[in-house]
């Protein structure tokens, strides 16, 4: 699991790659905290290289959404693969993010 952050003038782009399981979510905690502090801009999460997401990973997405929503911003998920999309649909997460 790797998370890269690009702090652009108009948005924050987060590139996630690999397998977003529970231990990855625990390790990503400092990064997530940092991202929560950057929620004043719209956030785009690039999931093109994201292979798998566990419920802990979904929780991270939720936290980012919540932080952005508090500042009136939205979170976009882009390039989500079919398996993950299935998960997002079952959990109705697809309704909480802008899906691209």
């Amino acid at each position: 699991m790797e998370i890269k952050i690009q702090d652009n003038p108009e948005n924050v782009t987060v590139v996630m790659s690999g397998s977003f399981d529970t231990s990855a979510a625990e390790q990503a905690e400092p990064t997530v905290k940092r991202l929560e502090g950057m929620a004043s801009k719209p956030m785009i999460i690039d999931c093109n290289a994201l292979e798998y997401i566990a419920s802990s990973g979904l929780r991270v997405l939720l936290r980012l959404r919540k932080a952005c929503a508090a500042q009136g911003r939205q979170v976009t998920l882009s390039g989500v693969n079919e398996d993950i999309l299935e998960v997002l649909k079952v959990t109705h997460f697809d309704q909480m993010f802008i899906m691209k």
Binding site: A25, A54, S55, S56, L58, R59, L62, V90, H92, M96
Partner: protein, 562 residues
Amino acid sequence: MARCNEAMTKGGLQIRMTVFVTSAVLLISTAVLVIMAGRISRDYERMLDNRISDDLVAITRNIEQRMLRIEDATRTIVNTASLLVEDISDLDSVLYHTVYSINDILGMSIIYSKDYGFVGKFCERYAYLDHNGRILSGTKVYEGEPDARYHWQECYDRETSMWSDPTEGEISGLDIVCYVMPVFDDEGEHAGVSYSWVPLSYVTSFVTSYKIREDIDISIYNGNGAMLVAPDDYILKLSPDDLIVREAEIGHLGWKVILSADRNIIEEEVRKRLVSLGVMILLMSILLVLAIAFVVRHVARPFARRQYLIEKEKAVMDNEMQLASAAQKELIPHVSPPFPERKGIDISATLYPARKVGGDLYDYFILGNTLYFCIGDVSGKGVQASLFMAATHYLFRSVAAGNTAAADVAGRINVSLCADNENCRFITFWFGCLDLASGRLEYVNAGHGAPVLVRNGKAEFFPLSDNMPLGIYDGERYISRSAVLLPGDILLLYTDGVTEAMNPDENVLGPGPMMQAAESVSDGSASDVVGKVLERVIQHTSGAELSDDVTMLCVKFIKTES
């Protein structure tokens, strides 16, 4: 009690280490001593021999070099003297300077065999150092030939130089040996013989100065057996058995150097060496023990204390976790079979946390003629997830009881979980109310995976109602669905710990094998289904650590009950 244990651990470590190291050191020292002693006694004779032989070689070489220097000096003088046979004053001057400058020579003389016009035939020109330290020169005239001493004649006859026997010097009155050398005149004819006088006392003092060890006696005899340096009296008094004797020859001198030592003294010395070796080893051992005691006190003990505290803390934590784990297991139904009086329904479940406590949940209870059952999976693992699981469990118990409107139950639990859920923790949840009289099932799915229905030996996914997991958004409206179970139907609820169980190569099990396993025991009990699927999971993981909690709840609808 804890304090007592702590003290014991600290003290114990120090004592254990000290005892261990001390015994190790003592053992090693003893072994070294025993080996050394064995070696020394084995090689004893050789050691003695070597020691004396080494001394002998050194002494012999030193004496020979000293004598060679005397010979060289004499040769130089004689060569000069040969040219000066007709100038008496120059000759005297050369003799004088030789005696003056060469310390090892007491005096020097030339006996002329022809009349060179000094005084007559057989006159001896000499210079020597008297006992007052003055150099006396002079001429001694022999009436007729001088005493026909063998060396004089031999030297003269063979035109060669040689060391004389010890003799009493006619001029000096001391016991001397002489280096005797023929002298030739300008025509190459014998002019006479030169003598370099070396007192025996000088030789004795050379020898003494080269002595390496006080307790070794040195005596020297020349080739004719005449004694040049006498042995000590104490050596002469010892019996041959008590003596170690080694001898060597000084090559061209033909002298024999004899080293004698009192065997007892040498033995005593070897013994002393052993003792001092032992003492040294003992001292080093003590130092080592002290050093280790220091290390133990200043390094190991604080370390041990820290380690002890960590262990203690960990033990407390472990204990707490065990208690939490046990408490969590007590929360959920764990009696099997759960409802022996019910003939229409068979239920079995398992919850196997990946860590000591887990975030998975299953529950069921019967109220009236309705079975309420659920399964859930909290996001994340461990203690935080387990607390959320416990909260959900209690909400389920209190909200679901008597409420067969599944969507309403889910909604109420959701609102409670959303309150103050700062960390966005959520739970995927599947809940159903089964009317045991009719087989009618109303259920709601909150973001959980589809259960498996095994009907007529064939497994397939049970239709879902898509809803958001519980705990995310308190405005979510949950939608339920309904279905009718037929006798023999098996409904298997599970968490993704089952389908996503990983083998060591990190490949997940997937739903297929789970469904096949369930099908293979479709005629069996609910417990058979759970057992078979669990077996398949364990077979797949083949020893790899569980990545997620593995939870299953299996409901087999046997027949309708009135």
